[in-house]
Structure formats: structure tokens, C-alpha cells
């Protein structure tokens, strides 16, 4: 750059932003305020407003503002593998500086007609996922979980079992313990050399989180498109990301929409999640995220907008009847399962899956009947017995079996507790599987 643009008169300071008169500033460009990283979020005539990622503590009217002339970038190369970085894409692992091509984060959208239909199965061994909510590469899906549920553990399990060339972890407001948990898990699992971690812990300034997902996606696009690899992105916790968005919007005096969230929340989240893609050349980006809930409330703006964007959601829930965490078959959904179930998996998969869930719903009705003090009929009782078995053998997150085994287990449950006409399955499958004798290892 020809000259450095330096200013020393700030006219307005909020907790997250500051405004000054400056010429030639560009929307989105990075700057340093008092040596701290900041980004231009509005230019109106001469007034330039910057969001200061670390917060404006210590910024004074005479603090120095230096504009860099360029938006946030990440240096991409194969050297990213194995590294731990912060929200600015700088190493936090004590290793060497990154080298490689500087790429603008928040890159352009993939032309929809150049996308391929995501239809490669991504098996996890967890029946609550593989059987009921089958995932594919190129999908984007969050876990919806209350803060007390072991979402990061499940996320890590999925990452370790899913077939991926690279795992990219974007940690936002991660507790230090959970950060170390992931680090440990990747190290012990021997996959450290295929992971890249962008970490913002709860000890770091919250606004720095805003950069994490875009950094993770930029790294992912490098591996998935340039290197044609299968990339899995883990984002945890997106609720804390959205909270940071709300802070900035609030300081900008924007009119909040539902739940104090900015009106652009949908677009903001979509720009991240839509980075998931299946390329025709075989590379792919799959995003599995975590959205923590407030007492299971999915109508809150964050999970609500997320659900409208992602290709389903995996809802973690404590099942008191078996004392385990399960993947709730009602509220969970994989919208891309149609692309593989019954096609890449056994043809009875869709019908068995639906029959089991429908009968589980009957069990829930029976349960509430019981709780309301009514007598259960014989069918109700069968349903409730079935539900317990189903939950233990197929819904619990600690299950780790093949899809074939899941289907066989399903049939055996159906046969044990129900009559043919009660399961509502197509005749051709009943003929094939109802009378088949198979020993199931539970």
C-alpha cells in the first residue's frame, strides 16, 4: 500500500464499537484501534464505524486507528493441518507463522448448478442418527442440546467415526475444559494431523467469535475445493456466536427483532451453513454444529432460524426411562436422508424407520394416558414395553453398530411387540423380513 492511513481522533465509543472521521475507508476492511483488531461495519459519509473485536476497554478519543486496506484473510495451504489458531487465523499453539495464499474469508457462493446432489452416506454408528436421521456428506446439521447435555462428547464421537480427510473445529466460547477435551480426543485418536482448530474460548473476547466460522469455512473450502478432500466442520457453540452478533447489532442501535436478535440473523447464519457443499469433483464440506438451547426451547430465534437453514437437526434429550441421553426421534430430522435411505442402504430402511417411530409415538400417548391416571389397554402396554427397548437399543447415543444391525434390531422389536397389521409396513417387506429368523446381538 502506498501510505498507511492513520487517524487519532475518535468521536464516539460504545462497548463494542467506535466511530471516527476518516477518508477512503472500505466496508469490511480490517483496522487496528489502539493496536487491537477491528473491522469497518459502516461508512456513512466521513463517519466510519468499527467493531473492535476485543471490546473497547482502554480505547480513548485519542487512540490511534490504523486502516489496513484489506478485509480479514486466512493464509491457506496444507500447512494448516494440525494447527491451532485463533479467530484472526493466528497460531495459538506456539508453532510457526502460517504461510500460504492469503484468502478473503466469507468467499463467494458456489453457483447452485455447479453443486452435486449430496448422496454419500456418512455413517456414525449411532442408530439415532444412522437409522432415523441418516447423514450424507455435504450436509449441514446441528445438535440441539441443553447446556447440561454431553453435546461436545457426542460431536467428538461423530467426528472420530465419520469418514473425513480433514476435521475442522470452530470453537466459539468453548470452555477451556472442552477445548482441552477436543485436543485430547484428536491427539489420542491419532487424527491431529488431519485437524485444523480455530479456537475462541470463554476466556477470549466474545466478538472474536464472529470470525471463527468464516475462518473455518475458508480453510474447509481450501481443502474441499483446491485439494478435493472430504472435509468435516464442527462448530460449537453457534448460540454463543449468535449472542456475539446481537451485541454488535445492539451497539449499532439496530432495531432488534425476536429475542433481541438482529433482523439479519437468518442471513448471517445461512452464509455460514450454506458453505456446506458436495462438489462434482468429489470434494465436500459437511457441517455439524451445536446450538445450545434454553430449557429445550426451540422456538427461540437462534434455534428457530437455524432450523430453517440447516438440513435437519439432532435433538439430544435425557430419557428418564432408561437413564441415558437419546436422540429424540420426534424433534430430530435429517432432510437429506431421502437421498440415501433405501437406496444406498437396505430397501426396507424407510419403512422400518417410520414404523418404529410411529409406534414410539403411540407409546408416548400411552404414557401420558397413564400419567393422567387412566387404565392402559393391552396395546398401550405393549407399546410402552417396546418403547423402553427401542430407546435402549436404538435411540441412546452410546450405540455403535452398523446400519444392517440397526434394521435387524428394528425388525426384531417389531416382531416381539406387535402384530403384522399394526406396523403399517408394505406387504413386500413384511413377506421378506417378518418371518426371517435372525439372531440379533444386542
Amino acid at each position: 500500500m502506498a501510505f498507511k492511513r492513520i487517524y487519532t481522533k475518535i468521536s464516539n465509543i460504545t462497548k463494542a464499537t467506535c466511530t471516527l472521521k476518516a477518508e477512503g475507508a472500505r466496508y469490511g476492511e480490517l483496522a487496528k484501534v489502539n493496536g487491537m483488531p477491528a473491522q469497518v461495519i459502516s461508512v456513512v459519509d466521513e463517519d466510519v464505524t468499527l467493531q473492535v473485536f476485543s471490546g473497547t476497554e482502554g480505547v480513548s478519543s485519542y487512540s490511534e486507528v490504523v486502516f489496513t486496506g484489506s478485509p480479514p484473510t486466512l493464509k491457506v495451504s496444507d500447512l494448516l493441518a494440525g494447527r491451532f489458531l485463533n479467530g484472526y487465523g493466528e497460531p495459538i499453539d506456539g508453532g510457526s507463522e502460517l504461510r500460504g495464499e492469503s484468502r478473503m474469508i466469507k468467499g463467494n457462493a458456489v453457483n447452485p448448478i455447479k453443486r452435486s446432489s449430496p448422496s454419500t452416506l456418512l455413517a456414525t454408528g449411532i442408530a439415532g442418527i444412522d437409522l432415523n436421521n441418516t447423514l450424507v456428506t455435504g450436509q449441514k446439521i446441528p445438535f440441539f442440546a441443553n447446556p447440561d447435555q454431553p453435546y461436545n462428547e457426542v460431536l467428538a464421537d461423530v467426528a472420530m467415526r465419520a469418514e473425513a480427510d480433514k476435521i475442522i473445529l470452530g470453537g466459539m466460547g468453548l470452555s477451556n475444559d472442552d477445548y482441552l477435551f477436543f485436543k485430547n480426543k484428536f491427539t489420542k485418536g491419532g487424527v491431529l494431523n488431519k485437524t485444523v482448530c480455530f479456537i475462541n474460548t470463554s476466556e477470549n473476547p466474545p466478538l472474536e467469535r464472529l470470525l471463527i466460522p468464516d475462518m473455518a469455512c475458508t480453510a474447509a473450502e481450501y481443502f474441499a475445493n483446491d485439494q478435493k478432500q472430504k472435509v468435516l466442520i464442527l462448530l460449537t457453540d453457534m448460540t454463543l456466536y449468535a449472542d456475539a452478533l446481537a451485541i454488535v447489532a445492539n451497539k449499532m442501535d439496530q432495531i432488534p427483532s425476536k429475542d433481541s436478535m438482529p433482523g439479519s440473523l437468518y442471513s448471517d447464519l445461512a452464509s455460514i451453513y450454506e458453505k456446506s457443499v458436495q462438489f462434482a469433483h468429489g470434494g465436500s464440506i459437511t457441517i455439524i454444529a451445536v446450538t445450545t438451547l434454553n430449557e429445550g426451547d426451540i422456538t427461540h430465534a437462534i434455534p428457530d432460524n437455524t432450523g430453517y437453514i440447516t438440513e435437519g437437526q439432532l435433538f439430544l434429550k435425557q430419557d428418564p426411562d432408561i437413564g441415558k441421553v437419546i436422540i429424540d426421534p420426534f424433534r430430530s430430522l435429517s432432510r437429506l436422508k431421502q437421498n440415501v435411505i433405501g437406496k444406498k442402504t437396505r430397501s426396507d430402511h424407510p419403512q422400518v424407520m417410520n414404523a418404529l417411530i410411529r409406534l414410539y409415538a403411540d407409546a408416548v400417548n400411552a404414557k401420558s394416558k397413564k400419567e393422567n391416571g387412566f387404565d392402559l389397554n393391552e396395546y398401550d402396554k405393549r407399546c410402552m414395553d417396546f418403547a423402553k427397548e427401542y430407546s435402549r437399543k436404538l435411540l441412546a447415543v452410546d450405540v455403535n453398530i452398523s446400519i444392517e444391525q440397526m434394521l435387524d434390531t428394528g425388525w426384531s422389536l417389531l416382531k416381539t411387540y406387535f402384530k403384522k397389521y399394526e406396523v403399517g409396513i408394505k406387504e413386500e417387506f413384511l413377506e421378506k423380513y417378518w418371518n426371517e429368523e435372525k439372531t440379533i446381538k444386542a
Partner: protein, 588 residues
Amino acid sequence: MNLGKVTGVISNLIFIEAHGAVTQNEICLIHTENKKLMAEVIRVTGTRVSAQLFESSMTIKMGSRVDFTGKMLEVELGPGILSKKYDGLQNDLAKMSGLFIDIGQTTPPLDNDVYYGFTPLAQEGETVQAGDWLGSVKENWIDHKIMVPFKLEGTYTVESIVKKGDYLINDVVAVLSSEVGEKIEVTMVQKWPVKRAINTFKQKVRPNTILQTGLRVIDTLNPIAEGGTGYIPGPFGTGKTVLQQAIAKNSKTDVLMIVACGERANEVVEIFTEFPQLTDPVTGRTLDEKTTIICNTSNMPVAAREASVYVGMTLAEYYRAMGLKVLILADSTSRWAQALREMSNRMEELPGPDAFPVELPAVIANFYSRAGLTELNNGAWGSVTFIGTVSPAGGNFKEPVTESTSKVARCFYALSQKRADAKRYPAIDPIASYSKYLDYPEFVDNADKFIQEGWVAKVQKCKDIIRNGLEARDQISILGDDAVPLDYHIAFWKSEMIDFALIQQDSFDDVDMNTSLERQKYMFNKIMEIGEREFVFFEFEQVGTFFKQLINILKQMNYSPFDSAQFKKYAKELEMAIQKNKEGTLTE
């Protein structure tokens, strides 16, 4: 051309200092290093102009030059629209280079190097007016009419018209002269501003005939009419998109406009990959031949979301003016409303409910009013039927977009979370949903004539059975199985039967996904026969057992090809099962 320069940027809102007059909604072009980015003027205050940018603003410098075009956002109309995949501004996505969409990349919407076989329809010396048919070309398998440009006012005389033959879209095919002798050269292409309706028809009449969608819960219970409007609100994951795509695949229409507005890219990919393989139930040709997709997915520029729905509607009106039956589907209209909200907030306008702009209800009403059944000047009929999805925040229908839409759309397909959770698809709530067309006497008459005498009355009776059944269910769950009369159980199970056999439909099963009206009639009569019949039971458990057997047989019928041996076998089983009850020889 008027000029200006950029003075501010907040996300996709651009401030411009203008020299000279600027018109509201005029398109301006913002110069960057190597591109000109399109933006729409949304506010003018003296020389200060606010514009919404249809692109990412990352490459814009302060002080950049701005050209005001003097034109509103327009589409190009001509042969070649069908089978195209456009972005929200009618750029042909297939003509774009690279895997990623570069900022400011534009491509022509039509193909100027393709020859179309033109057949003249008008004679030299004939008097014509805007929208009249001058000639016809084959576009895929559709007779695409070349019309007198919509922008022309008054009457014209056909000076000359070319002979039958192959022409490029920009070739002059006719010359018209105005009343004052002005000569106008007509090609196969014309332009039209998207926010203005194409109103060259003679009259718009009340919709009166069913538009067949192949979905039982719609056609039989809540039919939408040709030229009608409908909306599908529902929390996420309840089946809005699947339902709309099912309608797209099965509907008996000539032309389909699909607007993917601010939703998932993979859903559009699914259409791209599936439609060329699917057969159109009307012509037997592949489905993509009659379909145009306009997509502005959620990661594409937000401001183009609004444009995308208008582009889709304008293209639909264009084909309606050719005397065709057009269906336009938009998923989701809420994303368009949200785009309006984002912009309104950035402009710091005083907000209405939930921070939406106060004019939202008017905008929505105006848009829905562009659908309709029209008689053209030459006596031919064309229609635009519109169905939009709505994505209410938190799944709560008491929100501005749902409420505004409810006031203008005539069919309401409410998707229920509870039904979706129980995998009762399509999750259309049978009680809350409605079709106002069932109350139109002209619709009732046509149903009498073309479906069956007394059809609508029978549909109402069916709804009564469902309603009674749900009331009975509530009583049973309050009082308990034993404490209610057997009749309650019978009423409940009759409604369950209607639910399972009629309302529920498997959109992923090759046979069940599309039910012809003829088949719907057959099944509906069967189901109503059972629904209106008296049965004999001695204890409540018999009721459930009996109806579950009937439901199972009915479902097997739904999965079997109509009138196949298999189908007939199940039909016989059904008769036998009913007969058994009559004779009092209940099983189990």
C-alpha cells in the same frame, strides 16, 4: 444518463450523492475496479440516494462512480425461458463461469444464437394491441406466442410479418404502425418491469375449476383452483418444501415457475437433478421442459430475494398471456419479507410489528393479486396459480407474514408440528386448513359436472367426520377408554381411517406420490362408504383392531397401481373385512 458517487456503505445499503434527477426504484450501476454492480434506488432525499445492492459490497470504494440507468428492474421475455435456471435477477446460471459466483457477474437470460421455428398468426393489415398474438414458435413442446409488446399503448396495424421459417430471437418478425404512422419493429424479445403486473387480458374472473395437484389432502379436501392462490405456513421441518415439490411434480399445468427464495441451495440442486428424469403427468415429456427455476438461495445476495419473486411472477404472467395454465411456487415468501425487514432496519425506518416494515401487508396483498384466471382478448384463457410457503418465526402463526398472507390467499394449508413429529405426512392440519373455493358456487357447479354430482357436499361431510373424530379423541383422553360410549371410539377411528388412507400420502413412494383425480374419486367414495356406515362392536378394543385392519388394507391399496391385480385383491379384502363386521363375526 445521470451520475453520482458512493458516499457510504452499510452492508448492502449504499448511500449515493446524485447529480440530477433520480427515480424511486430505478436501477443504478456502481463501478468497482472491473465490474458494475447493480443496485435499486429505495429512497431519495434531495441529492442523497439510498440504494439496495444486489451483490456483496466488499469491493466498493467510497467515491466510486454510479450510473443511474433510468430504468426499473426489468426481465427479458422471449422463447428460451423454459428449462432455464436463473438467479434472482434473471441471469442464466448455466452461462456463468467458475464454480463460484463472482461478484457482479451477469449473463444473458435468453439465447441469442438459437433459431426458433416461427409461424405467423396475425395477418398483414390486422389491427392489434398489446398482448395480441403475432406468431408462435416451439419452445420445448410448448407453443410460445410472440406477442405485441406489452408496453405499447393503443391500437396498431400489422404492416408486415415474416413468413414461416427459422429466426433468431432478435430478428425482426413483424413491423407495426401506430395510429399516427409510427413504425415499430417487433422481435421475439421484449422487456418488462417486474414490479408491474402484465395486464393485457380482457378480464379476470373468479377461479372456478380445480387445479389437480395429485395430492389427496389438497384435491379432495381443500382444492386449489386454476388461477387461485394458496399458502403453506409451517414451522421448520414440517414439510413445506416437500409439499411444494410434490405439487410441482404432479400438478396438471402447462408451465411451472419455481422460485427458490432465500432457502437451501441443496433443495434447488434436487430439482435440477430430479426434474430432467421425471415425467410430466400432462405431456409425458420430462418435467424440466416446462419448468423455469429462479433461485436466490440463502447465501446469495439478500436484496435479490425480493427481485426473485417478482421475476418469477412476471415470467408466469408472460406465459399466461399465451393462454397457458401456469403454476408458480415460491419457497419461502418469509425470506423475501425478511429481506425487506433487513433493509428497512438499515434505513432506520420506524418499524411495524416484529420490526417488519409497515407496508408489508400491502406488499404481500399486491403480489398475491397478480395471480388469476384471465380471458385474453382473443377469447383464450390463461391462468396463474400461486402457492407460497411461509416460515413463521418460532412456528407461531400469529406473526406479520402469516397474518398478512392469510388475508389474501384463498387456500390455507397449515402444517402442524404435531403431525410432522408423528410422521403423519403431509402434515397438513385437516381441521385448521381450508379452501375458500369450496364455497364458490361456480366451483361447486364445476365439481358436480366434472367430478361427481354432490361432490363438495360429500367433502364437507368428510370434514365433519374428521372433526367429530378429533372431538371424540379429546373426550376419550379426558374420560378414559372405558368411560365413553363405544360410539366415541368408532367416531375416533373413522377419522383415523380418513387420516391414514386419505390425508397421509407418501411423497417418496412411486405410486402413492401422485393420485389421479379419478383414483381419488374412487378411494374417496370407498372411504366415505365406511365413514358413513354403522358398525357393530361389543367392546372398545374391537374398534381399534377392526379399523387398524381396514387402514392397513387401504394403505396397501394406496401403494398399489390403480386397478392393478394387486389393487383389486386388496379391494376385495376390504369388502370382506367390512362384511365380517356386518355379520357380527369379528376377528379377535
